[in-house]
Amino acid sequence: MPADNRISDEALVSGMAAGDQDALATLNQRYGLALSAVADRILRDKADAEEVAADVLWQLWREASRFDRGRGSVGAWIMMTVRSRAIDRLRARKAREPRVGDPVEHIAAEDPSSEIHSSEQRRKVEGALATLNDGERDLLRLAYFSDLSQSEIAERTSLPLGTVKSRMRSGLIRLRDALQGSIE
């Protein structure tokens, strides 16, 4: 069933606050795969990733009535929460089973043909990412999809620590500015 693009995320959260399970299902259609893919890239365990994705949507379901729209979009909340939870789970796992950081690999989405709920938005983001140079883009990916410290990223990329910091900073600001420019 295709995701319903006519209803905003915020309206879906309002529906969830009223107990509308269809709203939760629609939000899962929009973000479920992205959530599990992000968690999978961090955890490299599909079952764990799906559990984390379900945890995030479940938290939103349970706390929908208290969602504060003034503090950011639903999408931003979901994507930052899944990253935070995946990293927490990764750290807990490492604490139980110490393991030197493995390389971060891109894991393809389970259904590459799946429809994004806003292909126009996707094009804007891809366009914004294209304004970054390769170094900035790679560092942003590494920083977002891993639990590596700045020093570990510097070691991994063989770049000076100062360069890592400045490229992550400039890349993210450039991405934000490009996105804002594409929206305005």
Partner: protein
């Protein structure tokens, strides 16, 4: 660090790539209420989320996630809104225990009566045995239900006690009640702190925080005018609804500027080191 230096660090904060002094400086700056840096952090967080959706391969239906959610929806019971975490020992409902014992005794009496009646009226002993087995099972079930209800009652009594403490902390003549707002680490989290120095009571009510990892705990801080961050207590969030926690009082004479919650190692720390999840400023008197 001044504002410009802090603002330079906001992108790394959005990427959760700050630690040590830099992380503390940024957290304190945000806790102090810099709207410009808050907006910067929010806009960068939005950009990262957009990147994550595209870089993760897009969004779309995930049947397996929905299966997990459906199972939770099916199993979901009416949420227990408040779970208390302080050391106050529940009284276990003495009156209820007497009532429960009487109820069990009544059920047992019924069983005996029915068995006796059946033994008088029926000659088929196997029928009587079946009746006894069925009624015994019923008695066991009733006892189990009573035990469950007793536990629920004890939990409710603990809630009432905590609510009393929270009310005392909130309603005194010199009480201060401050709303805590979720930060980017947990933007949907909310909470409030009530401080009543006269009654010697300080309470925290919080909800929407993610569960802590095995080796972590949430730590509550008073941000003092003279002494900076001061430990106020440790807690783990309730799995359902709000959590209420008794806090240590700030030192006498110290003016509290703000309260904040950070994620720290499970034994707690003397100075905040982890990400800040909630904060709220006390009004100046």
């Amino acid at each position: 660090m001044d504002h410009a230096e802090i603002k330079d660090l906001i992108p790394l904060k959005a990427l959760s790539r700050l630690d040590g002094d830099e992380a503390s400086a940024v957290d304190e700056h945000l806790a102090a209420g810099c709207d410009e840096c808050e907006r910067e952090l929010a806009s960068l967080t939005e950009a990262l989320a957009a990147m994550a959706i595209v870089e993760s391969g897009g969004d779309g239906l995930s049947d397996r996630i929905w299966s997990r959610l459906q199972a939770r929806l099916d199993a979901d019971r009416p949420p227990q809104r408040i779970e208390y975490r302080t050391v106050r020992e529940p009284s276990r409902g003495r009156g209820f225990a007497m009532l429960a014992s009487a109820a069990v005794a009544a059920v047992v009496a019924i069983v005996v009566s029915v068995v006796f009646f059946n033994s008088r009226m029926r000659t088929d002993s196997s029928d009587v045995s079946n009746e006894i087995a069925a009624l015994t099972a019923r008695v066991i079930e009733v006892q189990r239900n009573l035990d469950t209800t007793g536990n629920q009652l004890a939990a409710l009594e603990a809630k009432v006690a905590q609510t009393t403490d929270l009310t005392l902390a909130s309603l005194g003549p010199d009480s201060q009640v401050v709303r805590l707002a979720g930060l980017p680490a947990s933007p949907s989290a909310t909470g409030s702190v009530a401080l009543n120095r006269t009654e010697g009571t300080a309470m925290l009510e919080v909800s929407g925080l993610p569960p802590t990892p095995d080796d972590k705990v949430y730590e509550v801080w008073w941000i003092g005018e003279k002494q900076g961050p001061l430990k106020a207590g440790l807690f783990e969030p309730s799995s359902h609804g709000a959590t209420i926690v008794s806090l240590d009082l700030p030192p006498p004479g110290e003016v509290v500027l703000a309260s904040a919650i950070t994620l720290e190692p499970s034994s707690g720390v003397e100075e905040p080191t982890g990400a800040m999840y909630l904060k709220g400023d006390f009004p100046r008197r």
